[in-house]
Amino acid sequence: MYASTRIIAVTFISLFFLVSCTKPADPGMEESSMDEPSQAGSSETAGSEEDSVLVEMGLDESASDEQMSLLEQSTVYFDYDESTVTEDAQKVIRAHANALVQNPDVSLQLAGHADERGTREYNLALGEQRALAVSAFFQEFGVDATRITSVSYGEEVPFVSGSDEESWALNRRVEFSHDLMQ
């Protein structure tokens, strides 16, 4: 029932997706700066403004505050050299999957990333394995596979540039972004 969508939900989700749903760029178009932690998907890329689309997802009134808070997270994290989706990550995925099920005109892009340890080539494969593991959970939770695309950036697009455990943990991730279905 989209008519009963809570105002707060619409406001929040609209804001969020305005930022994150720029046209999925090739990795050449985005790399976080060396010094400042930056959202890889929102880097100041030439042309990104005209590419951005407003994706508004409505939620019915059953959406709880907890779900709202889970929807706020559009990144899930992994252990070192792992592509196992943690229980915390599964909760985030389930919340997003529920929103996607209610908004069939919205597509999902998954971008897998790795920390800088190990080789670039292996990390490219590991990022893909992570994106696919997340994709499998989205499908498990009812999102049709045809709505999901996944890509790996390996260690090429770190979220933060540090070389310590804390930075590495933030870089081992899968990011979700959305677009309107063609």
Binding site: D26, P27, M34, Y122, V151
Partner: protein
């Protein structure tokens, strides 16, 4: 081959400022490891009016030190500085325990305007005789190349092994845009020690896995694109390139067959990387592995029979080996370490260089097929992209982290030398296979 090695029990860090501000050469000598051959390299004399752009003696000294096989004696210990055979006093060198002495000079060539004569003589101080004398007539831009040739002659005459001082490397960097625009990605060609860099490709896409063809004329690499990464073969001399007919999806980690006729690479079409071979002549594809987990970073054995690759089929990433043919059975190669990735064969095929996690981060290690053991040789711990030199006398790799650079390692790890990068954040490196003209 002389065997006057001594065990030493302390660590020396010797800092030599090279001809470039950032060409800092760090020679670390680790505890308990055999010492190199003591050699004196006398500063080359010169009768030229203008200062020469290259110190020949310094280039030779740096070349030899990088292999870890030689310990050049500091010039301030020399009792004399001969530049000709007549001035050579063997006693002066026996006093400071030099096994060998290299002397030489650079003169303006009498008969050719703008050319130089470079003369070098190597002496065995113990036997009190000349080992060799060589001379090059060159233009000034070849002075550095002549110095590398002299270093090759010294290394090869004393060790009876080949050296790689006159070879080249390719490396990739990311150049940030100061105006906040998209970063640029570059593929550089340079001397093995980082000198004479030139860009051979600029791209808006990350350039990954550069690998030099066995004949030294081409380089293969992949360009990372969200829509599907392609593999390109580029002719170095002309800059021309073409995409090879890889399958749909992501194509990664290309490497050459020893005969240069085929490329081995990994492809992910069905959401998982497997190893494929493509024949350059007819585009014929051969699928080597078919596993539901990751198989990537293939590298061909020098005899052409095997391919090593990284797989996480045993949970942690480890190195596996398969015959270079369709549906080959894979055997696990590395048995120790939390992870092992990025393996490449040594020129002899008896060893692999790889990136190993032995609990201290990602480090360069050498796996020996005879002992099945891995020896960690790097003192840094965010290492990537490790390769042997064409003759196995050195290794090269990238150090990641905040301070990123290229490092040359001696095979025993005791000499670790920094190589200057032209511009940008260094990503990957490969060592060319052939000697320069």
């Amino acid at each position: 081959m002389k065997n006057k090695y001594f065990s030493i029990i302390f660590t020396i860090a010797l800092l030599v400022i090279g001809s470039r501000a950032n060409a800092v050469i760090v020679i670390e000598i680790d505890e308990g490891i055999e010492r190199g051959i003591p050699i004196a390299i006398v500063p080359f004399g010169s009768d030229t009016k203008d200062a020469l752009p290259v110190s020949v003696g310094q280039v030779v000294r740096d070349d030899l030190a990088r292999t870890g096989r030689f310990d050049p004696i500091p010039a301030d210990q020399y009792l004399s500085s001969p530049t000709s055979a007549e001035a050579m006093q063997f006693n002066d060198w026996q006093v400071i325990s030099a096994d060998y002495v290299l002397i030489g000079r650079v003169e303006a060539a009498q008969d050719r305007e703008g050319s130089y004569r470079v003369i070098a003589r190597l002496y065995d101080a113990f036997e009190q005789k000349q080992v060799f004398g060589i001379q090059y007539i060159i233009t000034v831009d070849k002075l550095r190349a002549a110095a590398h040739r002299i270093a090759n002659s010294v290394f090869e005459n004393i060790t009876d092994e080949l050296s790689s001082f006159d070879t080249q490397i390719v490396y990739t960097t990311t150049i940030q845009n100061d105006n906040g625009g998209a970063p640029e990605h570059a593929l550089y060609l340079s001397d093995y020690d980082g000198h004479n860099p030139q860009i051979i490709l600029r791209s808006e896409y990350p350039i990954l896995s550069p690998a030099w063809s066995p004949d030294g004329t081409r380089v293969v690499y992949s360009e990372l694109r969200a829509s599907g990464s392609l593999i390109y073969v580029q002719t170095i001399a002309t800059g021309e390139r073409y995409a090879i007919a890889t399958p749909e999806g992501q194509n990664s980690a290309p490497n050459w067959s020893p005969d240069g006729q085929r490329i081995v690479f990994s492809n992910s079409t069905e959401g998982n990387y497997d190893i494929y071979i493509i024949s350059l002549a007819d585009g014929k594809l051969t699928r080597v592995t078919d596993h539901r987990l990751i198989d990537t970073e293939p590298s061909w054995s020098p005899d052409g029979k095997h391919i090593v690759f990284t797989s996480n089929r045993g949970k942690d990433p480890q190195i596996y080996r398969a015959a270079a043919k369709r549906n080959a059975a894979a055997q696990r190669v590395t048995l120790e370490g939390r992870s092992n990735t990025g393996a490449h064969y040594s020129p002899s095929g008896e060893q692999l260089v790889l990136i190993t996690d032995h609990g201290r981060g990602s480090q360069v290690g050498i796996f020996d097929f005879s002992t099945k053991q891995i020896r960690v040789i790097s003192s840094t711990n965010i290492d990537d992209s490790a390769k042997f030199s064409p003759h196995g006398d050195m290794l090269i790799h990238v150090v990641e982290g905040r301070d990123r650079y290229i490092k040359i390692l001696s095979p025993d790890g005791r000499a670790q030398t920094r190589v200057p990068v032209a511009e940008g954040r260094i990503k990957q490196v490969d060592w060319g296979k052939i000697h320069q003209q």
